[in-house]
Point group: C2
Chain length 274, copies 2
């Protein structure tokens, strides 16, 4: 399949998820059983349901002759033949929001034509609580709901978004950034932080806790195709990172190069390599 | 009108807003003109449009014989006859999100049968990006989308939400709370923070910057009717505060009494008065 055909598969998955999610919303008063996914996060039934949709669509692609490996937060690693393509999935990014009835969570899907993040070729993120769909194919720009997106050109740090698995430790680490911000945001979904950063709503995004590739790979490509920058907190490229289930590195993402240099400077480290 | 009839007016406003908001979403790529509202916030055309809907519905209530004073972020103070009722409105709480294309903003409307927050009788908050409606009539409990809501009974501090007008100064002030949290959230809408706190999604909400009554009055009643607690950061009741456009006090809100005592303790102050 071409990258565009893969994107169509991802969109079909996203739209099925969006159509079906309504029954899971508004359950916040009820008890929701908890499991534990391959990525270490506790997973909720909605994750399982989501992954069933994803696997069913991917099985169809496989029956049509595609070979690839699925790496997903819920199911772990699953081979569909011997191909070198990797489909990296977070069925529900923002499980805590979904569980608690907060309408801010996403499905994130990335295609890599190899096992490194430098092999990213398609990224797709859908905000399941609303209609917002973000996608990018490498070299072809980024889109939100069908319209091209590009980050602002200024280096002003207005809104700093972050995620923190350990707020008491993580927030002090990125405080120099927060201290410069007019506003902060902590939405609870790394995939959406990167997607809304790509569409110009956020100046800088940071997470001091090491993130998993399925959380950020799709958003990473969308952001880069929208002229944004993403490295680890020391400014090192993420290209060498292997797609998988493990925690990798803390992230720093900015709307553009100049802002990224400023952000790295605030964090008192120099860019090693961009 | 009875409180229930007022609630119907507020719901009619909310649903008109929700129905019309679609055209304002997805504008994040365009330039949006800025104004300045009576409450000091810069206001966007969507605020003005929202307030037109609100005023038109309130004029209808006035023609049917109701007398009241409207206090709104955009229009300021406007008398509809000589009644002692006050309708306190934030047309778009979360303007920055709305402006930037982030689907997390609300309309908040409160009815008071006097000029103090102790006179709160109806609270209504609608998340305009999705279908979530929250409301409360004093003494009759709180509701989300028609179902009763009540905060959890445990005193565990899991998710701490906050808003900060000056992150570098405000976050250190409330850091003892953040330090205890498993996760933080900063969504950018005080009305929604309080509403989702009332529905059990948040343990404690704090804002070190003094808030305006139109930002929190509606959510305050919803939270209290859901068994939540709200005071200033020192534990002092908000009942004596006069409804108006000025900044009043920083807020501390918790899912229940025990959690509130714990939160006040963490902030190293003792409850003066609950």
């Amino acid at each position: 399949m071409t990258n565009e055909q893969w994107l169509s598969v991802f969109k079909r998955i996203g739209r099925k998820m969006r159509a079906g999610i309504t029954e899971f919303l508004g359950r916040e008063g009820g008890t929701i059983a908890l499991g534990k996914g391959a990525g270490g996060d506790r997973t909720f039934p909605v994750d399982k349901w989501a992954e069933d949709i994803i696997i069913s669509e991917l099985e169809q692609a496989h029956r049509q002759g595609e070979s690839f490996t699925l790496i997903s937060e819920e199911a772990g690693v699953r081979r569909f033949g011997d191909g070198r393509n990797i489909v990296l999935v977070d069925p529900i990014d923002g499980s805590n929001n979904a569980k608690n009835g907060v309408p801010f969570f996403a499905t994130a899907i990335a295609l890599l034509n190899g096992d490194k993040l430098s092999d990213l070729t398609v990224g797709y993120v859908i905000n399941l609580a609303v209609e917002d769909e973000f996608w990018a194919v490498r070299g072809q720009g980024a889109y939100k709901n069908g319209s091209p997106i590009r980050t602002p050109a200024t280096d002003e740090i207005t809104i700093v978004a972050y995620e923190a698995s350990n707020p008491g430790k993580d927030i002090p680490r990125i405080f120099p950034l927060i201290d410069q911000a007019k506003r902060t945001r902590c939405f609870g979904s790394t995939a959406l932080d990167l997607a809304y950063l790509a569409s110009g709503a956020i100046s800088v995004f940071a997470t001091a806790t090491a993130s998993r590739t399925f959380d950020y790979a799709a958003g990473m490509l969308i952001l880069k195709e929208a002229n944004g920058v993403i490295t680890d907190l020391e400014g090192t490229s993420l290209d060498h990172i292997t797609a998988g289930l493990d925690r990798t590195v803390p992230l720093l993402a900015s709307k553009n190069d100049a802002t990224h240099v400023k952000a790295l400077d605030l964090l008192s480290v120099r860019p090693v390599k961009k």
